[in-house]
Amino acid sequence: MKAKHQRLTLALLGVAAVVAAALLAMSAMKDQAAFFYAPSDVQRQGLPLGRAVRLGGMVQAGSITRARDGVTVHFVVGDGRATTPVTFAGITPDLFRERSGVVAEGQFNRDGSFTATNLLAKHDEKYMPPELAGKMHETKTLER
């Protein structure tokens, strides 16, 4: 093999690798991309059934109730236009409280409720999930 040919082969292989990565990513993306939903999106677009999605919004005031088994929590997430009831079994994150932002990972049920396998709460006063930032006001901690 001549040096020139070898370099061409390598370049082509490199391009093929990039294309392969893109194709793999696209095909996985089609099945697996967890779309982000706010409660009002569900009303507009219908329920995404049978796949893992993320649901984000504010935990509504007075909506957190704990079940008798001591580990299941029911609460309602709202985005100012609509609300979705959520069930979660597990230890709620330290920053999970009423009137604060939350992102739940899990699945929608046929009745429009949501079963969460994981909760991500606002991490600190300075942090707001970008998915929520667009949908609500941000509070500034310091006067700029």
Partner: protein
């Protein structure tokens, strides 16, 4: 006063970086000796000034100087001193200052230590370093001044996010930044070599220690970060495919590929253009990593919601750096003569396969990390989660494991496929035997089954290069390769076991009630309040019994006052065959306490593997360095013979 010294040093350092760039350009363009002679000392002084700025910032944090805005926003006078110290870089401005400080020091180190490269190439390298540093200095001075004062000084400050108050995390950013900066030095070498048309083994040998060292630090940083997330976040997971984690993983993948291609260039003078391209890619990845984490456009623990102005500034820097690097590459790569050729079945061929597979994984992670950001700018909310990454990158990673087992058993230039198969008998046997044993004894899922079996094959294959050699006379860099590849196998076993055999129990337990998890029976013995430096907590006392052996674990639920937050501190018991991981939740009205318990067999191997990989890199680095010293001594002796 300290703040003013810091700011003055920062301006001076920036001015020197500009001077360094101009002098290097003049020296290269006109070939005058004076500018060339000036570049080295300027680089050294610039590094010293950068260090002074960082020391000034650390001093402000240690003294809790509440007239400085950054200290007010990210520190508190009641914090333990270690977190005041680490708090200096536990924020946006401070971490950027740390970045440029390490960069300045690295530039100074290159100026002092690098003696092998031709003068012109070295000057071009230092010029490129100055160019990179200049962008960061501008960013600090114009968009995020760490020394800005505040008009009404509050008495105590707002405090540091308690999640970040952890000794492991205090040293996590510096470790990663040393890795990032090492890659940028490697990139500067590539730019220097392109400018002076000097891409060859000498350049590769000058670049290799920097790539190796930065790769070792990246490996350690990622390993430590993963363990921190594991015990601090209390979800029992060790990798979340969080964009911040990906930001450190992408440079690591690119650096791993670069490490292997640099070896081909240094020893066989092949893959010239390829290596330069990888250096550009690796640098781009560390820039994108810095940008992702520091611009606040991510959902993550670390990314603070800073103003978008800064994000735009970093984005512009990114475009200039990467665009400039690619433009230079495109303009000059035609002048790089093709290196030595090789047959497909050869060590070089194996290294090309390794590079291609790493590039594919890198591409997948990059797309998965950036696509949601791009989609968001078009108004589509989309989040990509772990299922995507596992599905797309998992199979490629397993193929890479196979390549890793085969590669080191190949000869340089050309090899015989039949002879190779003979050498692979033991690894193939180990893979088959382990797979069969697993299916019979404890069938896991398909991916874990493949993972553990291939890891067994890789472990055997990675030791083979040592068989039949005098172990004391085997060069250290061969040992390095063996240990690093073994580390990958060890890590892989840990990952596969954790995903296949973890047992989890979630319960609201009364005091004294037995709870089963894996081989353990856990009892809640009691709850008591405890008090720490700047927190108070409720602490559970759990007794875990297994075959008449009892251990005590004390998970806590902690409350911090400034800022007001609660964190759960998991308690972990490490046994030889796994970890018992316990988290305490809240109490309910009936006096029951939420407990989340995991038994994770062999999970510790994940991080042990990471440490082995880094150790392998360190051994290689020491081995190369010692050989070089010997060679230099020989040269000197010949001169005086």
């Amino acid at each position: 006063m300290t703040a003013e010294i810091g700011l003055a040093a920062l301006w001076l350092a920036a001015a020197l970086a500009a001077l360094q760039l101009v002098m290097a350009a003049l020296g290269l363009a006109r070939g005058q000796p004076e500018p060339v002679a000036a570049v080295r000392p300027i680089a050294i002084v610039q590094g010293a000034l950068a260090a002074i700025t960082m020391i000034a910032l650390i001093a402000l944090f240690l003294a809790s100087d509440m007239s400085v805005k950054l200290v007010v926003e990210n520190s508190h006078s009641a914090k333990p001193w270690i977190y005041k110290f680490a708090g200096a870089w536990g924020n946006h401005e401070g971490s950027m200052l740390l970045w440029v400080t390490i960069l300045g020091l690295a530039g100074g180190a290159v100026a002092i230590l690098e003696r092998r490269l031709p003068e012109r190439t070295l000057i071009a390298t230092l010029g490129a370093q100055a160019g990179i540093a200049l962008g960061f200095y501008a960013f600090l001075l114009f968009a995020s001044n760490p020394f800005a004062r505040i008009s009404h000084a509050p008495p105590n400050g707002l405090g540091l996010n308690p999640l970040l108050q952890d000794p492991g995390l205090a040293f996590h950013p510096p470790t990663l930044y040393i890795g990032y900066v090492g890659i940028s030095v490697a990139f500067s070498f590539a730019v220097g070599a392109l400018i002076t048309r000097d891409v060859g083994p000498a350049f590769a040998r000058a670049m290799r220690p920097w790539v190796l060292a930065s790769w070792v630090f990246l490996t350690l940083g990622i390993t430590a970060g993963s363990y921190w997330a594991y015990y601090e976040l209390g979800w029992g997971g060790w990798w979340f495919w969080d964009p911040v984690e990906n930001a450190s993983l992408m440079p690591w993948l690119a650096a791993t590929a670069l490490l292997h291609s640099v070896t081909v260039l240094a020893t066989r003078d092949g893959l010239r253009a390829w290596t330069v391209m990888l250096a550009v890619v690796a640098f781009s990845m560390s820039m994108i990593g810095t940008f992702l984490v520091r611009s606040g456009i991510l959902t993550s623990v670390h990314a603070f919601a800073v103003d978008p102005e800064r994000g735009a500034f970093i984005l512009a820097l990114l475009l200039i750096y990467i665009g400039g690097a690619l433009a230079l590459f495109a303009a000059r790569i035609g002048t790089v003569r093709a290196g030595n050729t090789f047959e497909f079945v050869s060590r070089e061929g194996g290294l090309v396969i390794n590079n291609l597979l790493l590039s594919v994984i890198l591409g997948i992670v990059l797309i998965g990390t950036l696509y949601p950001l791009v989609a968001a700018s078009f108004g589509v909310q989309l989040s990509v989660g772990p299922p995507f990454f596992n599905k797309a990158a998992g199979p490629i990673a397993l193929a890479l494991v196979v390549a890793m087992a085969v590669g080191p058993l190949l000869r340089w230039r050309r090899d015989d496929a039949g002879a190779l198969l003979d050498r692979l008998i033991w690894p193939i046997a180990a893979t088959g035997f382990t797979g069969a044993a697993l299916v019979v004894l404890a069938p896991p899922g398909v991916l874990p089954l493949l993972g553990i079996s291939l890891a067994a094959g890789l472990a055997v294959a990675s030791i083979l290069p040592l068989i039949g050699r005098n172990l004391l006379r085997t060069p250290l860099f061969t040992w390095g390769m063996v240990v690093a590849h073994l580390g990958i196998a060890v890590s892989l076993v840990g990952m596969a076991c954790d995903s296949a055999y973890t047992a989890e129990t979630l319960i609201a337990a009364r005091v004294g009630q037995p709870v089963r998890v894996g081989p353990y029976v856990v009892r809640l013995a009691g709850i008591k309040p405890v008090v720490g430096d700047n927190w108070s907590a409720l602490e559970a006392r759990l007794t875990a019994t297994r075959d008449d052996d009892t251990i005590v674990l004390r998970p806590q639920s902690r409350f911090f006052t400034d800022p007001v937050t609660a964190t759960s501190e998991s308690a972990i018991a490490t046994e030889w065959d796994g970890q018992l991981y316990t988290v305490l939740g809240q109490a309910d009205e009936q006096g029951r306490w939420q407990l989340r318990l995991w038994w994770k067999p062999f999970v510790t191997l994940i991080w042990l593997g990471g440490v082995l990989i880094a150790l392998g890199g360190a051994l290689s680095l020491i081995g190369r360095w010692r050989r070089e010293r010997r060679e230099r001594r020989v040269v000197v002796q010949e001169r005086y013979a």
